[in-house]
Every structure is written in structure tokens, then in C-alpha cells.
């Protein structure tokens, strides 16, 4: 089981390339999800504070 996982992760020694691509993908998409939500949250907090 552990050997299978390690072969999948290493991918004939090319694992670093594939996994770094995957990391870049999730990182950039994560930023894109985070930024608009942060903007919305900021406005939400500002206006809540104003209302109270």
C-alpha cells in the first residue's frame, strides 16, 4: 500500500514537476477565490459597524 502511494507520488522521478504544477494551480485559484470574498467581508464589516 505504502509502496503504491510512493510510486504514484514519485511518478518515475518526475513527481516534482507534476506536483508543483498542481500546487501552482491550486495556489492561483485559491487566491482568486480568496480576494473577492475578502472584499465582500470588508464591506460587510464596515457597514455592520456603521449600522450599529
Amino acid at each position: 500500500m505504502i509502496e503504491q502511494i510512493s510510486t504514484i507520488i514519485s511518478m518515475d522521478g518526475n513527481g516534482l514537476y507534476v506536483w508543483s504544477c498542481l500546487f501552482i494551480l491550486f495556489f492561483i485559484i485559491g487566491i482568486n477565490i480568496y480576494l473577492p470574498n475578502r472584499k465582500l467581508n470588508r464591506i460587510y464589516k464596515e457597514n455592520k459597524a456603521k449600522a450599529q
Binding site: I8, N14, G15, C21, I28, I29, N32, L40, N47, K48
Partner: protein, 254 residues
């Protein structure tokens, strides 16, 4: 016929009005989130783990499941932006300007992903991180054009004016991108010919082709998700002093 057309047009304009958009997008957002992330993850898992290994490139070819969809997205988002730009310029529909503005950073991100993963893929297969090959160059230029659009928008304070400014720029871009691609194609090209074509049969085996198709679908859905989120933020920021924002978004009754 004219009546139906007017009806459709009115429906679109009504759906695009900021309060109504905010209302219906709040309803579909959880569904969109669920579906897009499921398809995205399933496509990636299928591609990265279950599809067969390529006999020439080994396992490194699996980067294709990230690289190709994001390159496709980078180009089709520009097409989408040009359509929005045309609508903004001709009919002055407010929401299409906001769509244009919120699609630009997403398109730039996908183009950046395509560039970075392409360069990582190039290292084991070609031996270098970067080659001045036709497709790489035109993708890089596409990225610069995205950057120019984002920069122009952020430099103009009046946001509706900025929307119209970038709509002009996106129209210039859509006219000139095919010329850039053709002119850059005359260089000696190292890149493999494109995997996808609408008119001819795929050159890959179905085992590799099907997960790629699913990945492309997943990326499109992720784009729809990101666009909805960005547009919601944009709409609320632009109209934060209007009464519907405090009613719907903040749940305050005044």
C-alpha cells in the same frame, strides 16, 4: 419575432440589474460551488492517477491535464471579454462592463498558470525552462495584454468610464490576437500541435482524451464560479451606498 427578441432582451437586462443579479446569484452560488469543485477534482484525479502513462514522455505528460485546460481558458476568457466589451460599448449595459472587469484578472491567472506549468513541463521534455517558440510567445503576449487591461482599469478612478475604456482595449485585442498568433507561427516551432480540434478526430487515445475533456469542463465551471464571486464583490463595491445592498447583503431593514 421582434416581440420575442424584445422579451429576451428585457429579461437579460432585468437579470443583469445589480439587485436582481445579487439575489439570483446568491441562490445558485452554493450549487455552482458544489458542481464546479466536484467536476474539477474528479477530472484532475482521473487525469493524474487513472489515465495510462504516455509511452514517450512517461508520467510527466500528466501536466497536460492542468496545462491544456488553462491555456484554453486563457484564450476563451479573452473572447468572452471581447463580447462583453462589444455589449458595453454598443448598448452601455452596466453589468457587462462589470463582467468584463471581473473576468480580466481570472483570465490573467489562467494564462499565468498555463505559462508556469508549460515552463515546468518544458524542463523534463525539452531540457529548458523556456523556449522562444510560437505558442509560448503568443501566450506571453496574451498575458501582457491582460496586464495592460487590468492596469488601465485601475488607473481610471471613475469605474464606469474605466469599464468603457477597457472595452475598447479588449476589442482592439480580439482583432489583433489572431494576427499575433499567425505572425508568431512563422517561427520554427517546437511545441507539439494542439491536442484539441473541433473539426478533426483527437490524436490521443480515448483513455487520455476523456479525462482531458472532463478537466476542460471542470476548468470552465471553475471560471464560472470565480466570475460569479468576482462579479458579486464588484457589484456590492460599486453600489455600496444603495439601499438594496443594506437590505439584501447586510440583512438590515432601514
Amino acid at each position: 419575432m421582434n416581440k420575442i427578441w424584445n422579451y429576451i432582451k428585457d429579461w437579460f437586462i432585468e437579470m443583469g440589474s445589480p439587485p436582481l443579479f445579487f439575489k439570483w446569484s446568491s441562490k445558485i452560488l452554493p450549487w455552482l460551488l458544489f458542481i464546479s469543485i466536484t467536476v474539477f477534482i474528479v477530472g484532475l484525479l482521473w487525469g493524474l492517477f487513472y489515465s495510462p502513462t504516455d509511452y514517450k514522455q512517461g508520467d510527466v505528460y500528466r501536466i497536460i491535464y492542468i496545462h491544456v485546460p488553462s491555456a484554453i481558458l486563457g484564450q476563451s476568457i479573452f473572447m468572452f471579454m471581447a463580447i462583453c466589451g462589444f455589449i458595453t460599448m454598443v448598448w452601455r449595459v452596466k453589468i457587462s462592463g462589470m463582467l468584463l472587469k471581473s473576468a480580466a484578472p481570472i483570465g490573467a491567472s489562467f494564462t499565468l498558470i498555463a505559462l508556469l506549468t508549460g515552463s515546468i513541463w518544458g524542463k523534463p521534455t525539452w531540457g529548458t525552462w523556456w523556449v522562444w517558440d510560437a505558442r509560448l510567445t503568443s501566450t506571453l503576449i496574451l498575458f501582457f495584454i491582460y496586464a495592460a487591461i487590468i492596469g488601465l482599469h485601475s488607473s481610471i478612478d471613475n469605474k464606469t468610464k474605466a469599464d468603457r475604456a477597457i472595452s475598447i482595449l479588449s476589442l482592439v485585442g480580439i482583432a489583433i490576437i489572431p494576427i499575433i498568433k499567425k505572425s508568431v507561427d512563422w517561427w520554427q516551432t517546437l511545441h507539439q500541435p494542439s491536442t484539441f480540434s473541433l473539426t478533426s478526430a483527437p490524436s490521443m487515445t480515448p483513455d487520455m482524451y476523456q479525462p482531458l475533456l472532463l478537466c476542460v469542463l471542470g476548468f470552465y465551471l471553475i471560471f464560472a464560479l470565480l466570475l460569479t464571486m468576482n462579479l458579486r464583490a464588484e457589484v456590492v463595491i460599486r453600489e455600496k451606498n444603495r439601499s438594496w445592498v443594506s437590505k439584501q447583503f447586510l440583512n438590515l431593514e432601514r
